[in-house]
Amino acid sequence: MTIRFSVNGRDEAVDVDGAMPLLWILRDLLGMTGTKFGCGVGVCGACTVLEGDRAVRACQVTAAEAQGKRFTTIEGLSSDGTHPCQRAWLEEDVSQCGYCQAGMIMNACALLRRTPKPSDADIDAALRDSVCRCGTYVRIRRAVHTAAKLGGTK
């Protein structure tokens, strides 16, 4: 079936099986590899993207469900790293291997859009479904606070 949706403000149309997860549409068909595969079963958060203002797992969104929706991926925040979350992540030097960080940043964006000044508990609740195996959690917490100060609701 033909699926039409928008990614980072651009209209896309793909002809795929309606059960195909958005993750593979983004990565393998549209060549947007910023959204990462980590588990494929919705337990690691590496593939988190925004659907409207809401954080969703791209591996759990089927093509049929994506029909007509608006998505934002890490590539869509800004290409020059100037989005408040990106700046905060650089400021706090969060990344180690960096592989999970796109998912972390997208989760943080969704949190800040609904809770502009989050507490540590808000941050923990919003990000507890995302895995960082390098163990950057304490910096992620700091970075979300920093992003809030930089106007992360954008």
Partner: protein, 714 residues
């Protein structure tokens, strides 16, 4: 001994870049033959400085710390320094990333190369300006003449510099002159990560590339008996189904089709000899083996006075997976008698060699591009997944194919951390003095990348060298005896973060705490009391520096609120370790235990790795090491049943999440000595025993088995 002239090579590259070739690893030293550099510094006409070196970035920060070392001596403009990953060629004999050796091994070569380049540029500038070399100085990418009030950018000098002879005996900077080394420096590649531009192995895309996944036998050592691809081939996008030595590969137009094809594939497996294997059976075998004396790995001194009180404990440690978030993958393109690979690997040279062997082609015909790595932790020292990709490409008739492991493949078919059992025994004399120590480790040597030889399996020094944390007990005790008992296992065993040390250090430092309690002494006091004797202790290949260890303990006492009371239900514990004779580490942990639920409130780390190159990077490694260790203590465990691993994702192989991350404070012992030591692995081993000892302080319960489950604290 190689002279400086043999150590460095200067040339002018096309595009007017000055290139300095050097050797970055002594193991690669020439046998008096023609000097062949295996690392380069390139200074381009636009002033960009590129280090080309064979070190993989997997989060440990080498793409920042190594450029810092070079930039320091070169007096480069820090913002113009980059690291480029070298691909293996004939000039390499040892190329790989592991053992926390990257900064340590390249410290001197990078400084010498940087200093030589700086000297060449100064000499070229002196000739151009017609002034004495001594009147010039180098500063942040420029040669400066204070007399002439002139500044020449490095880029303008590269062509002239490349024509000069290699200077001899170039002086290195004094540590007091460092302006980059020792300064907290952010990751150079952070920008690519936060914009989604960073390319890991899984992100490699080459023209005409297909996507593949492999169905593997569920039982370790099993094989494919037969398969029927009829249903799989009906899935839209599936192009081919081929058998390879690890299973059956489904090759498709995109990953989703490959995964769907895999589900539709009918495969009959032969379970092979391990269908009955389980973790319980393995634990039983370890208990049986523990009754044997084993190989003595250290026997020092004698019991100075009769033992009147003996304390004995047994500690148990499970299997673990690495579980990096980027699963194993590689793109391989076999074309005729050549193969090109793009792989997130810590061991590109092994990939090259083993792919050449598989395909029966010369190593020179194999090109390996090392990509960014989404978490290594030792798993990617294995070359299995890269060789598999080459096999899939070949079986499919050649052409580029990306083989991606599912999360379950990654969990079930890794190279795991070995389970172990530790029998501890210690004796006090009538005066309450600790006079004997014995530690017997029962475990399994690495067998995944290569198996130990028959000679090694009879050699006590082989077992000594794979029991870090056991034989190198740093304490001064009149009689010390350590032993190793190997137990065969069908589980593939390979290096994991901190290799052999975490299990041994868990047992040793937890048992130390038991002894301190038995002696009625504070655990820091108890350790300090047993760190007298010789200042340097040689055990096997390592030397323990007791004054350094005493200093980290004393610093920990000063920085951790040691002795300050905590509320009921909370407790504080500590542990320490000397990693591979190099990096000295001590931790305190504060925990609260309520109804069997453990919350880690605060961790304080004191870390001494000699020269501190990038304090920001080291702190990050400690933070990561803490989280890694807490995952192993509180969450994850890999178990086997019916011959296969039972876990398949982070749902059942749980890891620490952000809401469980404690406050972490890192205190670096100020830069000292003349060498930096590793920081990736050393934070791991003493964290778990510090936690276990804190749990004892909070609850009175002694944990002797990992991972810690609520029922163990009931």
């Amino acid at each position: 001994m190689t002279t400086r002239r043999e150590f460095l090579k200067v040339s002018l590259l096309a595009g007017s870049a000055l290139a300095i070739g050097f050797r970055f690893d002594e193991a690669d030293a020439d046998d008096g033959k023609v000097f062949q550099p295996n690392a380069w510094v390139r200074i381009a006409a636009d002033g960009t400085v590129t280090i080309v070196v064979g070190k993989s970035e997997m989060g440990q920060g080498v793409r920042t710390s190594l450029p810092m070392i070079l930039a320091e001596e070169l007096e480069a403009d820090w913002t113009k320094v980059r690291l480029e990953q070298a691909s293996p060629g004939p000039q390499y004999r040892s190329l790989g990333t592991g053992g926390s050796f990257s900064v340590q091994s390249q410290w001197k070569p990078l400084r010498q190369a940087g200093a030589t380049a700086r000297e060449l540029l100064l000499t070229a500038a002196a000739a151009r300006l017609g002034v004495e070399r001594a009147s010039l100085r180098a500063e942040r990418g420029f040669v400066v003449s204070d007399v002439l009030q002139q500044r020449i950018p490095y880029g303008e000098l590269v062509a002239a510099a490349a024509a000069l002879p290699v200077p001899e005996n170039v002086p290195l900077k004094n540590a007091s002159e460092f302006r980059i080394i020792g300064k907290a420096t952010r990751r150079l590649d952070g920008h690519d990560i936060v914009t989604g531009r960073a390319r890991y192995g899984i992100d490699v895309r080459v023209p005409r590339m297909r996507y593949a996944t492999v169905v593997r036998p569920p039982v370790l050592g099993g094989s494919v008996k037969s398969f029927d691809a009829t249903r799989a081939k009906k899935i839209a996008g599936v192009r081919a189904v081929v058998q390879v030595s690890t299973g059956v590969a489904v090759i498709a137009d995109h990953t989703w089709a490959a995964l769907k094809g895999r589900e539709a594939l009918d495969v009959v497996f032969d379970a092979g000899p391990n269908a009955e294997f389980s973790s319980a059976l393995h634990a039983q075998r370890m208990r049986e083996a523990a009754a044997q004396p084993g190989f003595t790995t250290r026997k020092d001194g004698s019991i100075s006075s009769p033992v009147v009180k003996r304390i004995e404990s047994t500690y148990q440690y499970p299997f673990y997976a690495h579980a990096p978030v980027e699963t194993m993958n590689t793109v391989a393109d076999v074309r005729g008698d050549r193969c090109e690979l793009w792989s997130p690997t810590q061991a590109p040279q092994d990939v090259r060699k083993n792919v050449a062997t598989l395909l029966g082609i010369p190593q020179d015909n194999v090109t390996v591009h090392v990509t960014l790595i989404g978490g290594g932790f030792g798993r990617r020292l294995g070359w299995d997944y890269a060789v598999e990709a080459a096999e899939v490409s070949k079986a499919a008739g050649g052409g580029p194919v990306q083989v991606l492991w599912s999360r379950a493949d990654d969990m079930k078919h890794g190279y795991f951390q070995a389970a172990s059992l530790h029998q501890m025994s210690a004796g006090f004399d009538a005066d309450g003095k600790l006079v004997s120590w014995s530690h017997k480790k029962v475990s399994s040597p690495h067998n995944a990348r290569s198996k130990p030889t028959a000679e090694q399996m009879q050699d006590p020094t082989f077992f000594r060298d794979i029991s870090w944390g056991v034989y190198d007990v740093p304490y001064d005790i009149p009689f010390i005896e350590t032993a190793y008992l190997p137990v065969a296992t069908p589980v593939p065993i390979g290096p994991w973060r901190a290799v052999f040390s975490p299990s041994s250090t868990f047992a040793r430092e937890s048992f130390l705490d038991e002894l301190a309690h038995a002696a009625g002494l504070d655990p820091i006091e108890f350790r300090l009391a047993h760190l007298g004797g010789a200042e340097k202790l040689t055990a096997g290949d390592v030397t323990i520096d007791r004054p350094r260890l005493r200093r980290v303990l004393e610093t920990l006492r000063a920085k951790s609120d040691w002795g300050k009371p905590l509320p009921k239900g909370s407790g504080r514990g500590m542990a320490c370790n000397v990693y591979d004779g190099d990096t000295h580490v001590a931790y305190s942990a504060e925990v609260t235990v309520r109804e069997g639920k453990i919350r880690v409130d605060r961790v304080v780390c004191v870390f001494d790795c000699g020269v501190v190159v990038n304090p920001a990077g080291i702190e990050a490694q400690v933070e990561g090491g803490v989280i890694w260790s807490l995952s192993s203590a509180l969450k994850s465990e890999l178990t086997f049943r019916n011959g296969g691993a039972e876990q398949s994702s982070y749902r059942d192989f749980e890891v620490l999440r952000i809401d469980e991350a404690p406050k972490i404070e890192v205190h670096l012992i100020p830069s000292h000595g003349d060498t930096p030591f590793g920081a990736g692995e050393p934070p791991v081993p003493p964290m778990v025993p510090a936690l276990v000892n804190a749990i004892h302080a909070a609850t009175g319960k002694r944990v002797r088995k990992l991972p810690i489950r609520a029922e163990d604290l009931a």
